[in-house]
Amino acid sequence: MSYFANILVFICIYGILAISLNLTIGFAGIFNLTHAAFFGIGAYTSALLTLTGVPFWLSFICAFLIAAIFGFLISLPATRLKGIYLAIVTFGFAEIIIAVMKNWQGLTRGPLGLPGIPKASLFGFKFASTWEFFVLAAVVLIITYVIISKIVNSPFGRTMRAIRDDEIAAKALGKNVMKYKSYAMLIGAGFAGIAGSLFAHYITFIDPSSFTLTELILMLSMIVVGGIASVPGALLGAAILVILPEPLRFLYLPSSIVAAIRQMLFSGILIAMLLFKPNGILGERRLLLKKNAKSSWFIKKLWRG
């Protein structure tokens, strides 16, 4: 039965990642490709701190803070750019972070990774079994879901969506565009950081390969499938993409082939969604009302900025 719990834990972790990525891409319109790296920063921060004896709850909070600080720092140059330029800059940052993880061997042990990360524990209670850990992950997911829903539905969220729609008009209405974008990046990165902390203390082993482009594409696929600019959509997308490749396990194929089929499956879904339902299953309801939408707002945004 812990097989199902394992799937549920991953739905929670990827749910947090997809929801926070959707905050920056879907609601704030920042084409942020650093998300997987923020996930990694959270994981490494939390793992390194716990390995030196810091309690789990404190390193969990530090994972949020450190990732948020990186999110903020990256937002400073990144939010001055648009469209494809922004995508390249954020992608470049992600690669730098991965390169540091791989090469700062004194701290991260490089490609060897960090083994023996303690399981999560809170006030003396150890989340040892998969089901116990699922409860912790679900609580974190619910908190993330509630906070980000509150943010996007608040006046702050409205301003964020306005900036996504038309930055110049937002400036003319007295909105400090950079500030809102930086906050969006900061919060998005922070939540990716806590997802990283959960991941590290669940798997108990991390190495830089868990936070690369492949992971990022998986997260992007989740919000494309579930729905751009929709909090429940992001969660739904995460659930679908975690569950979908599972049947492959029972085909008893060599693992190298399964990995390749997984990648093909994700790419296939991504292409199919962009062709037939470009705003995703639960994409911002109001975006769907536009009857004559020939190509998705999402695709236009990416190319025009």
Partner: protein, 247 residues
């Protein structure tokens, strides 16, 4: 109220605005006219901070606002509309209005203090509805801005700039591309704005419209101010006639 002194801006070799100077009195409607490419919109962009001038100063209420970022200038009370309508297409009419009304939308207060925000929100919705009624868009409150007709979008942009509670309004071609009925309506709206104490600077190519509603007119050509005066004086000015008809 607004004073522009020696304003200059060039784009590469093109001198878009050269040594432009004028003053706008409180409570007046001033028209800014000139052939296409005369530098009118550039002047707007310079005043509102979207462009930085090469030389010159912009004084608003005895405060030097040259080189301030656009959002600061807007917060000081200078609102503008755009030549090409700039609404938030994927937001509703009401949301477009609420964005303009100065309110607390900082992250922590708006995400945490629910009751304060809800109360402010309620007041703002009432204010937005009032303005929407004023321009006749109250039936479209929940429509997406992108689904409005061109005329309705123009009206919404005007209503939105009014919601900003700015004292000086810069309207870039408020009457372009609209039919006669709407033209009259917009003229009425602008006169009403002045009655409620706003000062207006507008760019417009429709001369009847300019002559009817403006107190003063500034004429520009090739980035230079060529004439300033009442509509009647401008109509007779030789330089203006030359600029339009080619002398």
């Amino acid at each position: 109220m607004l004073k522009v002194v020696g304003l200059s801006k060039s784009f590469g070799g093109v001198k878009a605005v050269q040594n432009c100077k004028f003053e706008i009195e409180r409570g007046s409607i001033v028209g800014l006219i000139g052939p296409n490419g005369a530098g009118k919109t550039t002047v707007f962009n310079l005043i509102t901070g979207f462009l930085k001038p090469d030389r010159g100063n912009i004084i608003y209420r005895r405060k030097n606002i040259t080189n301030m970022p656009p959002h600061k200038i807007a917060q000081l009370g200078i609102g503008r509309t755009f030549q090409i309508i700039r609404l938030f297409p994927q937001l509703t009419v009401l949301e477009n209005m609420l964005l303009a009304i100065p309110s607390n939308d900082s992250l922590f207060t708006s995400a945490l203090q629910f009751r304060v925000v809800a109360k402010e929100q309620k007041e703002n919705i009432e204010k937005a509805m009032e303005l929407l009624k004023f321009v006749g868009l109250d039936i479209k409150v929940n429509a997406l801005a992108q689904n409005l007709s061109y005329g309705q979008q123009k009206l919404l942009e005007i209503a939105r700039v009014l919601a900003l509670d700015a004292d000086l309004l810069l309207l870039d071609e408020p009457a372009s591309g609209v039919n006669l009925t709407l033209l009259k309506k917009i003229a009425g709206l602008i006169k009403n704005m002045r009655k409620s104490g706003k000062t207006i600077l507008l760019i417009e190519h429709n001369m009847d419209f300019v002559m009817k509603i403006c107190d003063k007119v500034i004429a520009m050509d090739h980035g230079k101010e060529i004439a300033y005066g009442t509509p009647k004086q401008i109509q007779k000015n030789k330089l203006v006639l030359d600029a339009y008809l080619g002398g």
